[in-house]
Amino acid sequence: MSETTPEAVDERLKSEPFFAKMMKRPELGAIAGVILVIIFFALTADSAMFSLSGVINFMTPAAQLGILAIGAALLMIGGEFDLSIGSMVAFAGLFFGVCVVTWGLPLIISIPLTFVFAACVGAVNGNIVIRSGLPSFIVTLAFLFILRGLSLVGLKMATGGSTQLRGVRDTIEGDWLAPFFSGDAFPGLFLWLADNGFVATFKSGAPKVPGIPVEILWFIAIALAATYILLRTPAGNWIFASGGDTTAASNSGVPVNRVKISLFMLTACCAALVAIITVMDAGSTDARRGFQKEFEAIIAAVIGGCLLTGGYGSAIGAFFGSIIFGMVVIGLTYTDFDQDWFQVFLGGMLLIAVLFNNAIRKRVTGER
């Protein structure tokens, strides 16, 4: 961001290699972790993992997590937590399912309605946090329970006793909006690629990868948009300021309350987006959707360099953090390790990835 040209080189500055400059940015630190994890799996895992279908296979859960993680990262940078996003996925999924299946609304109405609904819940969260001055941890924790419980009650009412609401896929069949939120993008392209031998095919001749799952595109789009907002708009400055020091920000004229409430709404909308995508993909929703996703989202954001205390972090960091997390979770299945060790490896890999990333950053930037 240093675009000014000082008249002369300041004698109080050492020259700094470009690489060191880059590593200082919180978003780029996480890249070291990604590279380490890739190297690890390249050595230990089945080669299928890094085939096109393998990559798409681990990117799909990473993308779903990542959409949540980016929302959570923005909120964390703004100095608050939202523990209710996992439950929000279930609750928004239920709402969306009811819109589509029970009420038979078309997607063009159901989807905006779901977002509005999620945003309202987010606004309630935010308002309680702001008005009461209680920590957001405890307020959104209450909503973690409340929304999860309401999802169960709602599902039972909507289905007459079951915990699973199904039939979404049949109902939305043929809706023109469906391809934006479910299935694979660019199927034609991949068919063509397969025909021309660029993509592996099954014996039947169908491409092994029918397209890029839409959530991956959403994930990338949201990461870019969030990065743009954080680094290039006044709103981004306000988010950093609100999280860095609420009093100082408010004293400097940042509308802290407005910023925080908007972030709560945004996070809830991210959860709603994940809900819509997964419900449409699975064709059903149940009471356990999104279980513990709030936790994973925070993990991904922290791996990506966000501070829990607020005021520092990046969306791109959360992007790579989600990929690290997704890769470790799925990757172990490709290796020969005994699966009983799964959690030990998950924990160990996470620790090594962040330690490595941290060590690299310190070495490169010369901090001690």
């Binding site: 961001m1 675009e3 290039r232 300021a241 020091d245 100082a248 509308p255």
Partner: protein
């Protein structure tokens, strides 16, 4: 001790209406009484000094003026109309810029981002509307240079600046955005010789543009150098307001120390304070 400087001093006459008038302001924090009824006003183009001992209530008072605290009792008039700022942003939008004693800076953010925090310059339109980083960096470096600080770069984090550099950022910011009233709470406390003289000169310049300045200081010389009127607080109450020329530096210093033991102190310091 010089009791005048070569600055031009404003001549606020009685018929000019104050920009801000505060009447009988009280402020309690729980069981602590920080202000016990203080009245104060600022006229356009004058520098009104607020003086007083440590803990007298100066910062608390200017915080009620700039919308940070709501007064427990008392009235605030802004340009003649009763006014109730709910947030510092309201006060800011009305044209009041403040340098708080704790500076209100975010340590982890860069100098430029702190400088423009809350009032970011933008370029582009609609969705393409964005923070104009280039312009912001230029303004920031330039304003800091005017105050006598050569920044290494506008993207250094404020938390790693020296105490005086940080204070200068806060002052430069307030001066840049101060529209009708500029409030400075001990702005020169951490500043070097050069920087202090720049700040005092800036106050003078700003006042000449018709902006009202509220200046808090513990340094009698600084106050006398730029002040037009002097209000002294003591233990949450006003000891009175004096107009420039009607009071000697010694009397003022006497008042500032709370009017006690001054004789003995004065002696032991040999006029060094």
């Amino acid at each position: 001790m010089t009791d005048d400087s070569k600055f031009h001093h404003g001549d606020p006459t009685a018929h000019i209406h104050p920009v801000v008038e505060m009447k009988n302001i009280e402020k309690h924090f729980g069981n602590i009484i920080a202000l016990a009824g203080v009245s104060f006003d600022v006229k356009p183009g004058e520098c009104h000094c607020l003086l007083g001992d440590n803990g007298a209530g100066k910062s608390t008072f200017i915080k009620t003026m700039s919308g940070v605290h709501k007064p427990t009792k008392g009235e605030i008039f802004f340009e003649g109309k009763p006014m109730n700022f709910n947030t510092p942003r309201d006060a800011m939008e009305a044209g009041i810029a403040t340098v708080f004693q704790d500076l209100a800076m975010i340590p982890l953010m860069s100098v430029t981002r702190n400088f423009f925090m809350g009032r970011e310059p933008t370029k582009g339109k609609g969705l393409g509307k964005r923070f104009d980083t280039k312009f912001a960096n230029e303004v920031c470096v330039e304003e800091m240079r005017k105050m006598g600080i050569n920044l290494r770069g506008p993207d250094q984090a404020v938390g790693t600046l020296s105490g005086g550099e940080r204070q200068t950022v806060a002052i430069a910011r307030a001066v840049y955005f101060g529209a009708k009233i500029l409030i400075l709470d001990e702005p020169t406390s951490a500043l070097g010789v050069r920087q202090t003289s720049n700040v005092l000169a800036t106050i003078d310049k700003v006042r000449r543009q018709g902006i009202g300045v509220v200046f808090i200081s513990h340094n009698v010389r600084h106050a006398l150098a730029v002040g037009d009127r002097f209000t002294v607080l003591n233990r949450g109450k006003t000891l009175g307001t004096a107009v420039r020329g009607e009071i000697t530096p010694e009397q003022l210093q006497d008042l500032m120390a709370g009017g006690q033991e001054l004789a003995s102190l004065e002696g032991s310091l040999g006029g060094t304070v």
